[in-house]
């Protein structure tokens, strides 16, 4: 048995007296695409942010490639080189063009020289279908385009693991498709992805695992067909039926 790429063990996190994560455990192998679902406030985003230490944990253990992530002597900047993140609100650098957004990390963090970084940056923009928008500023892009630049920016660091924090929630419905399509391509290329999303389309077609998180703990974890068709826990079933009802009305 090879070592998992990401292993999370007995993770606890609370904000003040409110416990958001109550002993979460999760493992991902290289190439896995794990989709986290669950009601809002269930701790999905917090779990994601613990992995690249945008949020500090209270107790437990997170290891990436066998390396302890949460130790006091872990170099967080070193860790974040290996873990890319895509945000719900895109958070593109507003003063930089699409290409500059993508090349900032490689230039300043990886120390690539300008020309190399730009060449690689163009490749990544091409990968998300936005080569023509290379010189546009974020304000000049549509929401879907912004999020694709956000994905390209994360890809440019050549991370071992990509985190997606509700990447399509801030998008108009007609723009969701283009982002999901890019994510599906990445999944097919074997990129390891941990995704918080209720995009059932993506979950069904690209996920290797679905994790249902509720009230700070993992209620159910399994391959999509099993979890969606035959959920074992009542809470999962209730959540899924609410989600379906919402999808049909939307």
């Amino acid at each position: 048995m090879t070592q998992p790429l990401l292993s999370i063990d007995d993770l606890h996190k609370s904000y003040g007296s409110e416990e958001v994560l109550e002993g979460v455990g999760l493992e991902m192998d290289k190439g896995d695409v794990t989709v986290l679902i669950g009601p809002s406030g269930s701790g999905k985003s917090t779990l994601l942010r613990c992995v690249n230490r945008l949020t500090e944990i209270n107790s437990g253990r997170i290891a990436l490639d066998g390396q302890d992530v949460t130790g006091a002597d872990t170099d967080v900047n070193e860790l974040r080189k290996q873990v890319g993140m895509v945000f719900q609100d895109f958070n593109l650098f507003a003063h930089l063009t699409a290409l500059e957004n993508v090349t900032l990390g490689p230039k300043k963090v990886l120390g690539m020289d300008g020309a190399d970084a730009e060449e690689a940056g163009r490749t990544h923009l091409e990968q998300v279908g936005l080569l023509e928008q290379a010189d546009s500023y974020p304000a000049e892009l549509s929401g879907g385009q912004k999020q694709r630049v956000g994905i390209a920016r994360a890809l440019a660091m050549d991370p071992e693991l990509l985190l997606f924090d509700e990447p399509t929630s801030a998008l108009d419905p007609e723009l969701v498709g283009e982002v999901v399509e890019v994510m599906r391509d990445l999944a097919a290329e074997g990129i390891t992805m941990l995704v918080v999303s209720h995009e059932m389309d993506f979950a069904r077609s690209a996920a290797s695992d679905i994790v249902f998180l509720d009230d700070g703990e993992i209620v159910e974890h399994g391959p999509p067909e099993q979890l969606f068709q035959n959920p074992t826990a009542d809470r999962t079933e209730q959540f899924l039926s609410r989600l379906h009802a919402h999808e049909e009305t939307a």
């Binding site: 690249n52 945008l54 974040r80 945000f87 958070n91 650098f93 003063h95 990390g105 963090v109």
Partner: protein, 328 residues
């Protein structure tokens, strides 16, 4: 003359190439003349006068023609009594022009000193203000408290008092007098540098407040995203937050620049012969207060309008869609 003609001549090729840069506007022409005059004065008085042993401050335009014309206009108007009033006004204007030609060389030196005082103070002040504002927004508790105390101390006391404290109550003047080069050639004497230090410390406090407000208005997600690609906090501030904050701060920063041009006149209280100081010295000798203060008002206006026009250029040059207000 030839340049004015070539810019107004309907030459489509030229117009196409230079675009809007050379559309002639009275304001632009006025400012251009002002700066040509300032630079010409500086070149003659500090460079050519030294090389050729000329008298410094010789007027470019002689006063005599204005005076004789004024005299003849006045004597021509005399028989008409009250009906000759417009002609008398013309005579007065010509008299004013004659006076101006005599005073302008000295005032040009004042302009030069005011420009140096303002540019040094605002630039050095900015270098202090930037770290101060970053500390105010991102620093630890003690560092924040220290930066806040400095800002409040400076903003809470009169600039003139700060100037006097530095000039009279510290040994700064003696120390600066001992620095080689100070007061030699066109390097101003120690009082000027005391004023620069004082205005720098003062301007830094005000500028840091403007910058702090701008840094705080940059969305928090920007720094989060910078951290997420592996930049340290300081790098994230430097490459992501500060560039956006500076753009947002430009309008209020222009305000500070304009204030400082005029506040720099306080330096005259510690003997610096900047524009206001020179004017009041001459006025005290000649009693031509009205003429001189009209002149100095025009010169200050030229400086302030130049500063606004320059910052306008900077604003439109650095304008980025989605960062601050962009004018169409």
């Amino acid at each position: 003359m030839s340049t004015a003609e070539s810019t107004t001549s309907p030459n489509p090729g030229l117009r196409d190439r230079v675009g809007t840069v050379f559309t002639v506007r009275p304001l632009t022409v006025g400012l251009a003349l002002f700066w040509v005059w300032v630079l010409a004065r500086w070149t003659t008085d500090f460079v050519l006068a030294g090389v050729f042993g000329l008298d410094r401050g010789t007027p470019f335009v002689p006063a005599a023609p204005f005076l004789t014309t004024a005299d003849s206009v006045a004597s021509f108007a005399a028989p008409f009594g009250a009906a000759g009033a417009p002609l008398l006004w013309l005579a007065d204007t010509l008299q004013f022009a004659a006076d101006a030609t005599a005073y302008l060389p000295a005032l040009a030196h004042g302009v030069w000193t005011t420009v140096l005082l303002t540019v040094f103070s605002v630039c050095l002040g900015f270098m202090l203000a930037l770290p101060l504002s970053v500390v105010r927004v991102y620093g630890g508790r003690w560092a924040r408290w220290l930066a806040l105390s400095y800002t409040e101390l400076i903003r809470g006391t009169p600039l003139l008092a700060q100037l006097f404290v530095l000039y009279f109550a510290t040994s700064l003047t003696q120390v600066l007098r001992g620095v080689p080069g100070v007061g030699v050639g066109f390097v101003p004497a120690q009082a000027f540098w005391v004023a620069v230090i004082s205005f720098t410390l003062n301007s830094a406090a005000y500028q840091s407040e403007y910058l702090r407000a701008s840094l705080e208005s940059v969305d928090g997600g920007q720094l989060t995203a910078a951290r997420a690609i592996g930049l340290s906090k300081l790098e994230g501030i430097r490459y992501v937050v500060v560039p956006q904050g500076l753009r947002l701060a430009l309008p209020s920063w222009t305000n500070e620049l304009v204030y400082l041009i005029k506040y720099s006149s306080l330096a005259s209280f510690i003997t610096v012969q900047e524009l206001y100081g020179r004017t009041s010295t001459i006025a005290n000798e000649t009693y031509q207060y009205t003429e001189l203060f009209v002149l100095v008002a025009i010169l200050y206006l030229a400086l302030v309008v130049s500063a606004s026009a320059l910052m306008d250029r900077v604003e439109s040059h650095t304008a980025t869609a989605g960062v601050g207000h962009t004018r169409q």
